[in-house]
Amino acid sequence: MKTEERIIKYLDNDLTSEEKTAFERELKSSEELKREFEKYSIIKEKIKNKKNLKLNPDYLNSILPEFHNKVHSGKKETLRRGLSYAFDLILIFLIGITVQKILFNNSDKERNDLEKFTQSLNDNQKLDLLESLNGSDDLYNIILGKEYVDLLENDLVVNEDVLKTYDIGYKDLIGNLSDNDVEKIYNELLNRNI
């Protein structure tokens, strides 16, 4: 074991009783070991004198009040956060319910009702309704809401042949008639007192 190691172990009370006795014997006889030993023991002594140093009482007395303030404000903050989370959760729940009601429950129900209603109409009735929807400006929008009017219009699928008949204009009616045909129809209408 090197000299320094022996000194440090001796000061640290880490030598066996035999090693300790031998070290103390050598310390008495060796000036070199004594000089080296004093360097280390001075450090040990300085530490010993300063390690139980007392802190300023004002500072010491301020530690606990500060701690309790932190704990108290921490609890308040936790409560505030808890309430905030609870409010957020309620808000999200309400929004969720509303959205579900609009998008899934009511909307689906009303959508089904709308489809059943349009399917129950014959082509002429559908045409009448379409004409009413287009001709009544915003009246149906106000009563039903624009999205339902749009849905209704989409559902009112009219047979194409009926639609062609419906769309026949005045020119389409008379365009292919000869003058004789026109004269003949006119006389017929006069004879029937229309």
Partner: protein, 195 residues
């Protein structure tokens, strides 16, 4: 069951007052916690202060350790003394504080190891004590962390190698080796300082 545990703990040289204070606190006695805090706050401060070398950081560690004690004393299972348990928390929190400080220095591009505000001014009254403390702190700061830890825990906190081992998680052999190098280095630094 509780009675037998109590007898066992008393037989194992547990500091009876610590045990009673912990039990009283867990039963809702806030004053018991205040007594525990007053008993250990100074030791916590000085340990953190010697590891960190800075008053503000040490003060933060004291507050953190008290908070951990307050919230976690119900988990303390008496497998070690309360003193060792508190030191383990102090040690861990001090290391975390050291990491935070290093990170802060990297972010602010400050690579100096000097402590700008050691803060002894209002903490210690005696001028001679202040100077000696600053001198010793400068030397401690020059030790690698592993050596500084064991040197402080052994010399200032007077813990045994077994206790230091349970706190730091390092083997007794490694701790002794670090302690030897730390002591040797302090002697060299002190010699240079005197010259």
């Amino acid at each position: 069951m509780f009675k037998s545990l109590e007898i066992l703990l008393r037989g194992m040289n547990f500091k009876n007052d610590d045990y009673e204070l912990v039990q009283d606190f867990l039963s809702g006695d806030q004053q018991a916690f205040n007594n525990l805090a007053r008993k250990y706050q100074e030791k916590i401060y000085w340990h953190a202060r010697r590891i960190l070398g800075d008053h503000d950081d040490a003060h933060d560690v004291v507050q953190q350790v008290l908070l951990v004690m307050y919230n976690k004393l119900n988990t303390f299972n008496y497998s070690s003394s309360l003193y060792t348990w508190i030191f383990k928390i102090t040690y861990t929190r001090s290391l975390n504080q050291l990491k935070k400080r290093k990170l802060k220095r990297i972010i602010t591009l400050n690579f100096s190891d000097d402590i700008e505000n050691p803060g002894y001014e209002n903490i210690v009254d005696n001028l001679e004590n202040k100077e000696e403390l600053i001198r010793m702190q400068k030397m401690l700061n020059k030790l690698p962390l592993k050596q500084r830890e064991v040197f402080i825990l052994r010399n200032y906190d007077e813990l045994s190698y077994d206790e230091i081992s349970s706190i730091t998680g390092k083997s007794v052999g490694a701790l002794k080796a670090n302690y030897f190098h730390a002591f040797k280095k302090i002697k060299e630094l002190m010699g240079k300082d005197e010259n």
